[in-house]
């Protein structure tokens, strides 16, 4: 079969789709994570907490699929990235999985007994299940920016020198906190459009304000750190963007400061960090003016801006290696075969619009603010 797009183009498309998936995940599942992390604080009474839970409940399954799809798509399109990062972050991945398993279970099982002690336990389980993934994602991104401690042998088997605690370096903690702030801001923003006016919504506005401010400060700090700190990698020699996916065929060197190279070469990329700052500001405006839609728009734009900033700064690197730069994974040496990328693109072009269409329909059917009255009377509510 003749493939109408060349290998380089397909790799670029799949690099973009990787970004789309991460952003899609954060926009959708970030809502659930943010609300879960706020659970013990956003509602003072059981009814108030149930209000927040039921604003998320019909959607969490659909949102969670972004995470699973992300895993599957990375596996299919970037098998090296899947293998190196998931085994490299082994214990962190476990924490993440445990938290993500705990979350839906908490939503569902909390409601099965009226006992306050039972419910309070699940509220704290929800807090953990929202906070831990948000933190781990951010810490992981920070470590990827710094480079992971792995090397590949001639069979392309991965060997890893690092520990769980080693992941929590000061810079990674900063990106972890940024991630928490971003997700809490987004969760609070989403909640503001999904529940009726009242004390819970007021608290969501307050937490949203705090998170948005923190987001701006941490994003700025992170930018300064990337610019001043000793991080960055660069490809050397002939770059074969059409070549076979084998890191041993390309040459990488550690080049402190190289994460800013792209902005010099392509000034339009500055749009991403600008959006990263504009988003939280728009969210703040929305919160102040009680325009909840504007609030949610702002938090969504912030997510797009911040994640794009990381991706664009590193391009074409996806997972650089700190201990053996030669093993670094890039968009040109870590993808699936030409044929697989093409088939997966076709599948995506067919099914993603269908998914978006029925997701939109589901949102439409369930549209409207959840009210305390519904929480009291609807037997289907958690």
């Amino acid at each position: 079969m003749a493939i109408p797009l060349d290998y380089e183009t397909l790799r670029l498309i799949w690099w973009l789709l990787l970004g789309v998936l991460l952003i899609g995940f954060t926009l959708t599942d970030g809502y659930d994570l943010g609300v879960a992390a706020l659970m013990p604080f956003i509602g003072k009474t059981d009814e108030e907490r149930r209000l927040a839970i039921n604003a998320v409940a019909p959607h969490w399954e659909g949102h969670q699929v972004w995470f699973i799809l992300g895993g599957g798509a990375i596996f299919a399109a970037w098998p090296f990235v899947y293998a190196v990062s998931f085994s490299g972050f082994y214990l962190a991945m476990f924490l993440l999985l445990a938290a993500l398993i705990l979350r839906p279970v908490s939503f569902k099982y909390r409601s099965k007994h009226a006992d306050p002690a039972w419910r309070s336990r699940w509220d704290w389980a929800m807090f953990v299940s929202g906070l831990v993934p948000a933190l781990v994602f951010g810490v992981a991104v920070g470590n990827v920016l710094l480079g992971l401690p792995f090397r590949l042998d001639s069979d392309l088997r991965t060997f890893y020198e690092g520990s769980l605690l080693g992941l929590f370096s000061p810079f990674a903690l900063l990106t972890g906190l940024l991630s928490v702030a971003m997700i809490v801001m987004h969760g609070a923003g989403f909640l503001a459009v999904k529940i009726e006016e009242g004390p819970v919504l007021e608290r969501a506005r307050r937490f949203g304000t705090f998170a948005a401010l923190l987001c701006i400060v941490l994003f700025a700090l992170g930018g300064v750190w990337v610019a001043m700190g000793q991080m960055g990698f660069r490809l050397e020699g002939v770059i074969d963007a059409q070549g076979p996916s084998n890191p041993h065929y390309s040459q990488t060197v550690a080049a402190p400061g190289a994460w800013l190279d792209n902005y010099g070469r392509y000034p339009w990329m500055m749009l991403a960090p600008v959006l990263g700052f504009a988003g939280p500001l728009i969210a703040l405006m929305g919160i102040r003016s009680r325009s909840h839609a504007l609030n949610l728009t702002g938090s969504s734009l912030a997510t797009v801006g911040i994640i794009s900033t990381v991706g664009l700064s590193m391009f074409p690197f996806i997972v650089p290696s700190a201990i053996d730069p030669q093993s670094s994974l890039t968009a040109w040496n870590a993808s699936s075969s030409h044929l697989t990328l093409w088939i997966m693109l076709l599948v995506t072009l067919i099914f993603l619009p269908i998914v978006l269409a029925y997701t939109a329909w589901a949102i439409k059917v369930l549209f409207g603010r959840v009210t305390i009255e519904q929480v009291r009377t609807n037997p289907d509510f958690y």
């Binding site: 895993g71 299919a76 293998a83 082994y90 476990f94 999985l97 076979p244 084998n246 997966m344 589901a362």
Partner: protein, 526 residues
């Protein structure tokens, strides 16, 4: 490779996969039972069927959450614990997993929210459509997962690429329409339908024994009996058997299931009892039915079913051929353009995986002695006694279910489920489908050993480079987490069953009777 890391990784995978599959079969089957019940509601307009649908929907929900939650682990475990496997076959294996997410899981997960929360917001037909999408989504999920698993059993449509040191797809249609995958899909979803039917029968029988909710229980039993009979026939008739003649490993699996050490003249007999002896390669107290095995597995009177000893000899040959391919790959690593190495590789590439079996005994397979080659060839025999007995347990339960549902069908038409001994039987056998299903998976996966991917990648090479303490940490972690959730799940299930269909009573109980519910108790029971 540290074999302890491999064994622990296998243990963890087995634990998490088997735990995940406690919930999946019920989701597969109950979703379609919900579609049937809700269809009856939409067609007849009788409130009692809405009550019935919503009751089973509630149990479906409790089960569904854990199915989804534990499925996440599976999607990521190939990367965390089987990183070299993920690199080596991700080009092919990743695709069905990603497509599963995009095509099936999104459908299932988006619509399940609507299914639970959309009763008041959708028309009757609209809600039925939503329920149907959930059933379709969960069953399509199974299709893609089994395409992935089928490829591990029979790696069609792919080839090793020495430039990237991994398997790459050559023919996607061959991966999709893999006959092993198709047989597995039908077999697995049918087993799920049986499982859900037995579950519905059991819970309903318990209500009838207690005299509670008899109107819901009788109707549920009726549906489950019919659905269960069709599914239990499908699970046995459309079993995996058809795929067993395809590859050497599949042949080995069949021979191991039958503990057939020597190739017999066609048509071979089917062993129904015996004690296989792994050391001496004989089966003690073997009782055979002549001709049957040859007929089932080759669909002919003349087809030969190969015995274990001959398959080992064949493996020995393939290892030697694979060594030539291995040598060529090593040469291509240093000189990408070497034409002679390319040529040698192309001639022997289909046996490359066999040479890698030697890595268990010697770091460079090319240095292996004849003795080591023979040891590696013998490694291609899976655990025969385990295979032999697991298969008999699974098949025995399968045949039992055909008889059980035939009886249920008879009971439904003759005595309206009034026989207490039958109801007690229905309650007692509820765990059996899970036993058969888990046994079936163990059989399929033990039978594939020593391969992660048949003839391509030995299991022990697929593991990540982790430390033993790391893996123990996650095994203990998963066990604690999953154990706690299992206890909670079972308690919630029992509580929901005890409570019965109370949350969604019909609009008015008299109305229910006027609509022609004569012969059945009104809600609440009696």
């Amino acid at each position: 490779m540290d074999m302890a890391v491999v064994e622990l990784s296998r243990l963890q995978f087995a634990l998490t996969a088997m735990y995940h599959f406690l919930f999946v079969p019920l989701t597969l089957g109950l979703s379609f039972l919900l579609v049937i019940m809700e269809s009856i509601y939409v067609m007849t307009g009788k409130e009692i069927w809405r009550v019935t649908t919503r009751f089973w929907g509630k149990l479906f929900g409790i089960n569904f959450v854990l199915g989804v939650a534990t499925g996440i682990t599976m999607e990521f475990e190939f990367g965390t614990n089987w990183a070299y496997y993920a690199h080596y076959v991700g080009d092919i294996f990743g695709a069905p997993l990603a497509i599963e997410g995009l095509m099936a899981f999104f459908l299932e997960a988006t619509f399940v929210g609507l299914m639970f929360f959309g009763w008041d917001r959708l028309s009757k037909v609209g809600h039925l459509f939503v329920t149907f999408c959930v059933a379709l989504g969960s069953n399509l999920s199974a299709l893609w997962i089994l395409i992935a698993n089928g490829w591990m059993q029979h790696p069609a449509g792919s080839a090793f690429n020495p430039e990237t040191m991994r398997m790459e797809v050559t023919d996607f249609y061959a991966v999709l329409f893999n006959p092993v995958a198709q047989a597995k899909f039908v077999h697995t979803v049918s087993a799920g339908y049986v499982c859900a039917s037995v579950f519905v029968m059991g819970v309903s029988a318990w209500y009838l024994l207690k005299g509670k909710w008899t109107n819901v229980a009788r109707r549920s039993m009726m549906v489950a009996a019919a659905f269960g009979l069709a599914s239990s026939l499908s699970v046995v008739v459309l079993g995996d058997e058809s795929g067993y003649a395809l590859t050497d490993n599949q042949k080995m699996k069949l021979a191991a299931i039958e503990a057939m050490w020597e190739t017999e003249p066609a048509p071979a007999g089917l062993s129904i009892f015996g004690f296989p002896d792994m050391d001496k390669h004989v089966t003690h107290f073997d009782i055979k039915i002549p001709y049957v095995l040859g007929l089932i597995s080759t669909r002919s009177l003349t087809g030969e079913v190969m015995g274990i000893n001959d398959l080992v000899l064949k493996a020995d040959e393939r290892i030697r051929s694979g060594l030539i391919a291995y040598d060529a790959v090593e040469k291509l690593k240093t000189d990408r353009t070497s034409a002679p190495a390319r040529e040698a590789f192309e001639l022997h590439k289909r046996d490359l995986g066999y040479a890698m079996l030697l890595k268990r005994y010697v770091p460079d397979p090319r240095q292996a002695s004849d003795q080591q080659i023979l040891m590696a060839a013998k490694d291609t025999i899976p655990d025969v006694p385990v295979m032999f007995w697991l298969f008999r347990m699974m098949a025995g339960i399968g045949f039992f279910f055909i008889a059980f549902f035939a009886l249920a069908f008879y009971c439904a038409s003759v005595c309206q489920f009034n026989k207490r001994w039958f109801l007690k039987l229905a309650v007692v056998i509820v765990p059996l489908p899970w036993l058969a299903i888990e046994g079936g998976w163990v059989l399929a996966e033990i039978g594939r050993q020593p391969w992660a991917v048949e003839g391509v990648l030995p299991t022990f090479l697929g593991a990540s480079s982790l430390t033993i303490s790391q893996i123990w940490t996650t095994i203990v972690g998963f066990t604690l987490l999953y154990g706690t959730l299992a206890v909670i799940e079972v308690r919630l299930m029992i509580a929901a069953v005890r409570k019965g269909p109370v949350e969604h009573p019909p609009a008015s109980s008299e109305g229910g009777q006027q609509q022609g519910n004569a012969g059945f108790a009104p809600l609440p029971a009696e």
